[in-house]
Amino acid sequence: MLGLNKKDTYMFLLVLALVVFAPFLLNPFPENSELAQFNAGYPDLMQRFLIFGIFAIGFNILFGLTGYLSFGHAAFLGVGSYAGVWMMKLLTMNVIPAIFMSVVFAGLFSLLVGYISLRRSGIYFSILTLAFAQMSFSLAYSVLTPITNGETGLQLALDDPRVIGVSQVDGSIPPANFFGMPMRESFEMSMGGWLFTFNAGYYLCAVVMMIAFYIAIRIFRSPFGMMLRAVKSNQQRMNFTGLNSKPYTLAAFVISGMYAGLAGGLMVAMDPLAGAERMQWTASGEVVLMTILGGAGTLIGPVLGAGFIKYCENIFSKINDNILYDWFAALPDGLADALVFIIHPFIGKGWHLTLGIMFMLIVIFLPGGIMEGMERIGRLFKRRKPPSQDKSAPQASAAPAE
């Protein structure tokens, strides 16, 4: 289907199903139960899963395939965001031009940064990209305030021109919309004790993300993708094979920069504000973590990694002691106190600690990230079955990706 082989088609359909039914899947607990705390099926977080998923997929095209570790990709996301908000300020609240310009600007900026940074490799490349991103962040935060609105972040105002839209409707800024359908519009469906929210913005993100995912699969399976893996594997052999690795890495860099810009554009389409912090090196580090945690070089891994980190950030940080006491309300006081005492450092304001420990555990025990973990579990199940006759051992490593 769609020019994908059978295996990829299944994978694509699986991801499609997960994305379409995410409002159900992410809200497994009834609304009034104690465990509702762990529900993630609300629009903002679901959008973030997809947006950071796109960001990580794009980053993986560079890092996973070519092995070039960029520590500055957040800058492209930031540039995309700024471009998107400016389109909404100047042109229209329709998100399509905003997203389009985000991709264009991020692409141009990544072309510039990539052209210079790719003159070096290894950690020198990482430091170069880091330096560019930190420069962008510092300048956006201070000197470029007229363009970026500095620390506050670039946002919409009632008196923006919006030449092919309207500046304001009844004293309010018009909502970001897709040809008239507001991004924040939601339908709610309640079934028994469960509440499911279907948000217009989420489904726009879903469409975009599926397109982005589809393109990534095609790139992975294309001669171009194979060349990128060749760059990672042995650049010397590649050059002596008559291939010029520079345009390949640059193309990968720009494509992943455009993915970052797309993520930035979607981010402002969902929430029209662009803050400078999203360009900081820690934000770049975050996408590296997402990709490696999920499994660099795999197709789905980075999406899972993005979901994992965003889930930690948004769910663990909101658990506070009151909620803990609610959970343990049935237990005797002393025991409840002890449990809360033990858990307390890891939740709420301690969520960074939880995240740090999880990073370490995953890196130490699962070097291939979440995907390796799943593979191991899968193998555990397979081992119990008699080995099928057509599967010779080396065949398993035939498909290098995912």
């Binding site: 620390e151 304001q168 079934m191 002691d321 304001k349």
Partner: protein, 451 residues
């Protein structure tokens, strides 16, 4: 240190929202937020949920923790638990200690990380997931402005926490947002006369300014108000926010003929720049026959602690201080101090007051509808919340009240006793026209009930 405190009430949280328990029996109901007649997150059950969005990680985590303590206290008082705190001294008597409009107050918390993006994400999750009807908190202006805009778009009320930049109620004001805290202009207007009295009218000031929005407005405010009294501004230098060592910015001060250094810095920046300035002997310096002086326009007691003995004798302004002796402040300090064992910070105070003011406005409006609340808060005059007579001005949603000019105490008796109040600048002196140039641009727009 972190403290683990048991909430007084251990009942499980029942989420408010269109569903309550009634929907349990019905198989499927489709509702669209756009079609419902009321307003976003209208509480229909027996509880109402407020969202407390404070920095729990990052450099302002301790201020965030103090804000959270104050919110918990406010919730207790609203629900009729504890000693009632400032409810008894508040001039409006609409609140009855039975929650808000008879609904018990529940709350959810989030982490702003002092980043606009993260703050908006956590506010959104509280609105979308937990059904919060109001968002409050924060410890920086960038976050306040970002979250305020979000609340305007989403259609809930935003009660700003600690935010001092003029822009929050200036060019970035929003109809759904309200600020109790004072601002840069007020700091300048309150400080200038005190400085003139203390240091004379013939002074040359050198500004070091944090290179971001709040720094700019504070520099402008202090500069304009001191220049109006005859001071001369020798130089204004912007320092990177990420700077930790300010020596490269302090040494040129030594070389200039300035005799006053104004540090438009907050938080960690302020601690470091002040410490560095004292290290370089600025305070022992004599210039033009006068003692060299340092000024910190916005003091935070929590952060000033980090500068240790260096704050002694240094002037600044603050929104509130626990040593105030009015009834409201005393009641608040007592109930906070008894619960937590130390006095509240100005961040705790302003957030506590904001929570009370919001509850009171709902009570008086008779609804949680943001537009009703906005109407009730606009032009609202009150007293007894620690700052004397206060007006929530309708034009820009800024509170107008007395401003405290303080200075670092020479002989502190405890680790909390760092500042002493030099003067309570009366509200008239810090009031400005809504269209004052420092606040130009931007418009409130109309309230958005989100539905």
């Amino acid at each position: 240190m972190s403290f683990i405190r048991k909430p007084l009430n251990r009942r499980s949280i029942l989420r408010a929202g269109a569903l309550g328990g009634a929907a349990l029996a019905t198989p499927t109901i489709f509702t669209s937020r756009a079609w419902s007649a009321g307003y976003l997150n209208e509480p229909t059950g027996s509880t109402v949920t407020l969202g407390f969005n404070v920095p729990q990680t990052g450099p302002y985590a301790d201020e965030g923790a103090d804000e959270l303590r104050a919110y918990q206290l406010a919730v207790e008082h609203l629900n009729g638990e504890g000693d009632g705190g400032m409810l008894s001294t508040f001039s409006s008597k609409a609140l009855k200690g039975n929650g808000i409009l008879g609904k018990k107050v529940e709350f959810v918390t989030g982490d702003t990380q002092t980043k606009s993006d993260a703050a908006r994400a956590s506010a959104k999750s509280m609105i979308e997931k937990d059904g919060a009807i109001m968002i409050t908190g924060g410890s920086s202006s960038g976050v306040a402005v970002a979250v305020q805009a979000l609340c305007q778009e989403a259609g809930v009320i935003f009660m700003a926490g600690l935010t001092h930049s003029n822009d929050t109620t200036g060019k970035d004001k929003r109809a759904n947002g309200f600020r109790h805290f004072f601002n840069s202009y007020m700091s300048g207007a309150a400080l200038a006369p005190v400085l003139k009295n203390a240091y004379g009218a013939d002074r040359k000031a050198y500004h070091l300014t944090a290179d971001y929005n709040w720094g700019y407005t504070t520099e402008q405010a202090v500069k304009e108000s001191t220049e109006a009294l005859g001071w001369e501004t020798v130089e204004t230098v912007k320092t990177p926010l990420a700077a930790t060592d300010f020596s490269a910015y302090i040494t040129p001060v030594l070389q200039s003929d300035a005799d006053v250094l104004v540090l438009n810095h907050y938080g960690g920046n302020m601690v470091n720049s002040l410490t560095n300035a004292v290290q370089f002997g600025l305070r022992d310096k004599l210039v033009n026959g006068k003692n060299f002086e340092i000024i910190v326009p916005l003091y935070s007691r929590l952060m000033a602690k980090g500068a240790g003995a260096n704050v002694k004798g240094i002037f600044g302004s603050t929104n509130w201080h626990w040593s105030l002796q009015d009834e409201g402040s005393k009641a608040f300090v007592k109930s906070f101090g008894q619960k937590y064992g130390f006095p509240p910070s100005q961040a705790a105070h302003t957030t506590y007051v904001q929570a009370i003011l919001y509850a009171d406005a709902c009570e008086r409006a008779g609804t949680f509808n943001p537009c009703g609340v906005v109407e009730a808060l606009e032009g609202f005059e009150f007293d007894g919340l620690g700052n004397g007579k206060t007006l929530y001005r309708a034009e820009d949603h800024q509170c107008f009240k007395d401003v405290l000019v303080v200075k670092g105490k020479e002989n502190p008796t405890s680790e909390f006793d760092l500042l002493e109040i030099v003067e309570v600048t009366p509200v008239e002196q810090v009031t400005y026209a809504p269209d004052h140039p420092q606040f130009a641009g931007g418009a409130l727009g109309t309230c958005n009930p989100g539905a």
